[in-house]
Each structure stands twice: as C-alpha cells, then as structure tokens.
C-alpha cells in the first residue's frame, strides 16, 4: 500500500550512509542542505509559523493535495523512488551474493563497476527524471526543457543537493572530470537496445516523453546536451574534483585511492539521494501550496 506524505517525511533518516554521503558534499554548496525531516518540522521550517492549529491546518491541506493523484505529486514521488531503486538493483543483486563471504575490501575486489556506457545512460536518465519530476511538481508540460533550464539557475536547498549528488556521485566519481562530454558521447552513440537493456531506463521509461524508445532516446540526449553546460559550470564554480570528493568520502568509507570506479558502484547501490531529497523537495512544494491555499 502506498504511504501517506506525512509517513514518507516522518520516516526520512537522520543518519546513515545516504545522509553521510550528501553531507560530504557540503563543502561544495556550503549551508545549502539541512537534512530537514519530520512533517510538522518541515511545515515550521518552510513557513516560519509556530501556531500548532495553523500547522495542523497547513498539514491537512498538504495531505489532501498529495492524495489527489491528478495533482502530479504522487507521480513525482514515484519517479524519485523508482529511478533510485532501478539504478541500484544490479549492484544490490551482486552484493547479496557476496555478503557473509568476504571482508568489505574482499567484496570490493569482486564487485564490477558499471561499464561507461551503462553509467552514462544512468546519469542521463536520472537527469531526465529530474526534469520530468520538476514538471510534475510545478505544473509545467513534461517536455519543457527550457523551463527546467531556467529553474535550474534558481535551484537551492535539497533540490540543489540532489543535482550536486547527481553530478558528483553519478558523473564525476565514476566517469572522471570529462564526465559530461563522455556521457553525452556515449548516449548519442547508444541505440535503442542499449537503452532498453538499462535497468534505470526500464524503471521510468513510461514517464519519459516520446512515443517510442527511439523518441525517448532522442529526448534524453537533447535534455542532457542542454543541461551539460550547467553541470560543467557547477563543477568549475564549486571546484569539485574526483580526488577531493574521494577524500571527503574517506571520512566514512574505507577504500584505496585507485578504487574510484568501485566507489561509484558502491554509492550507486547504497546512497538513496534521489529518493531522500526528492521527498524533501516534494513536501516543500506541497506545503508552499497548502499554506497559500488555506
């Protein structure tokens, strides 16, 4: 059974590997992301209100808006949740076979990093998922790349953290400094069977604009091409580097320096940043609307 919006927000973790991995990005976007959890707590933080009766009233309208499927908020949650599970599926299956047989470093020897093409498709499909979810939440037609690009410049808080994690964990770490060019090249040279064989794509393909896989591949490539500049600018303006990111991650994951691609695979399996920050974005928009409508 699907969960209510207040359950999703109340159950967001305050610690663990997802939260720690995102906190390691704080140096790139200082102070942008506080891990806001708890439904009432989020209402207080977003609106600045303290009156309990008013908070309850805002919360009730937000619950009702989420429950109305036609409003798009449930679909956005589904996208954020599904794209994350799809991408980690392969790794989780590999990991399940190793648990109990190896030490952690032994496990790392046995996990196979994704091939570059698969990683490139993952990155670009996740980016398109952000675009589609953004349109669902904000009520903009689903193929509106221009509106999304305009809004990216205004991204802050948990939305900016999600994009930072996308660039760093799915781009820079597994693919290196030229990740954007590399991924675009890989996506442009992909055919529909590459796309259809990709678990991340399969998980969300129904909501990607386009009538056929060929159309959808075209949309993915076009969206990635349009957003590439933003991603490259994010890297140069924040000074993010593969070695710097790895250094920060070492605070809580043990690995040797030559294991960048393995760390990418490990993050892919265990760090649920899309789902986590997706819920945070979604509830913020719901609360903003609810407080305006009551």
């Amino acid at each position: 059974m699907s969960k209510s919006i207040f359950e999703l927000v109340d159950e967001l973790p305050t610690g663990g590997i997802t939260v720690m991995a995102m906190k390691s990005l704080d140096t790139l976007i200082p102070g942008q992301w506080q891990n806001l959890t708890g439904f009432d707590n989020t209402i207080r933080a977003v609106t600045g209100e303290t009156d309990e009766a008013l908070i309850q009233q805002i919360g009730e309208r937000a619950v009702a808006l989420y429950n109305d499927k036609s409003q798009g908020y449930q679909r956005a949650y589904w996208l954020y949740d599904t794209v994350q599970s799809g991408s980690g599926l392969l790794g989780a299956a590999a990991l399940a076979n190793r648990i109990g047989q190896d030490t952690f470093l032994g496990f790392l020897k046995n996990v196979t990093p994704k091939p570059e093409k698969a990683q490139s498709i993952d990155l670009s499909v996740k980016l398109v998922t952000e675009l589609v979810a953004f349109c669902q939440i904000n009520g903009i037609p689903g193929d509106s790349i221009g509106d999304f690009l305009g809004a990216l410049g205004d991204y802050s808080g948990e939305s900016l953290m999600r994009m930072a994690a996308l660039v760093c964990f799915d781009g820079l770490i597994p693919l290196g400094p030229e990740f954007a060019e590399k991924a675009l090249g890989n996506v442009q040279s992909s055919n529909t069977s590459d796309l259809e064989g990709n678990q991340t794509y399969k998980s969300v393909k129904d909501l990607i604009p386009g009538d056929s896989s060929d159309d959808k591949l075209g949309f993915i490539a076009k969206s990635f091409d349009s957003t590439k500049g933003w991603m490259q600018n994010f890297v140069s303006s924040t000074g993010a580097t593969q070695s710097g990111l790895m250094h920060n991650l070492k605070g809580f994951i043990d690995f040797t320096d030559d294991k960048a691609d393995y760390v990418g695979a490990l993050l892919d399996m265990n760090v649920k940043y899309y789902r986590h920050t997706g819920i945070q974005t979604l509830v913020r928009r719901l609360i903003e609307r609810a407080v305006a409508e009551i």
Partner: protein, 166 residues
Amino acid sequence: MIATPRTFLVPALLSLSLVVVGCDKKSPSPYDQVQKATKGQSAVSKEAVNGSQFNRYFPKSANGFSVVAAQEKKGFAEHKVNKGGKNVAMLSISDTISTPASASKYKQSTSKIAGFPAVDQGQNGTGVLVGDRFQVKAQSRDPSFTKQDRVTWIQKFNLNGLSQLK
C-alpha cells in the same frame, strides 16, 4: 585482527540495507483522519480556473526584487520573490472554489487592502479575497520582508483585473 568501528560499520550498513524491515507498530498521527478522508479523493474542483490564467495578474520584478514563477496548477499559481539570490517572500493566487473555508474567513475581516477584505494569517501571511473568489496572498520567508512589505506587494497585483476573471 580486531575490526575498527569504521571498517565494521560499512559492511554492517550494507547488510542492513538488504534486509527488508518487518512490520513495526506505527504511532498515531494527527493526520490519520485527514489521510483516511482524502485518500484517492480530488482536492481541486473541476470548476477551478487554470493557474496559467493567473500569471498575468502578478507583480513584475523591480527595484532589486526578482519575481520568479514557482508553481502553476489548476486553481493555483505561485511566484517567488528573491532579493540578492535569496528567497524573501512568496506571492500566490488561489481559487477558493476548491477550499470554501479559505474564502469564508474573510467574512470576519475588519480591514481592507486596495478595497478588498484582508486578513493576517499566522506570523508571516497576509491575504485578500478578490471578487469573492480569488485569494491573493503574500508570505514572508525572511525577516527583512515585513508585514508592511506584504501589504505593499499585494497592492502591486492587478487586483481589479483579477476581480473580473470568471
């Protein structure tokens, strides 16, 4: 070799992530009742005006404040007011045809803004009801944006235009 807490922690977390957590008893939430009442229900009236029709009545960017479209749904449109890259306020128009209680609170109104009944809500919100139907609100998101600023910004909407909208 004795495992350090850190080397032990990672495999432990990894294994945990694979375990399907069983049923846990949920404590009651103050939202259980509304969840039950609204599940699968429509929250927006079919008669509501599309949010895209509201955009033209919003104030424009001026004097260092930029007004940026944020949400546009059936019966609702919201724009952010940013200053120096920081969000300082939210401006919205909503169709109270979906939320009649939102309109009825203006019956108790004792003040007016630009001739329309006005109310303050909580510490950060001020609204007016236009044409007995459309709620126009300004909400502070930063202490620099005062109650007086909210009144000033509500006056910047094309309220008379909006009152003609059907």
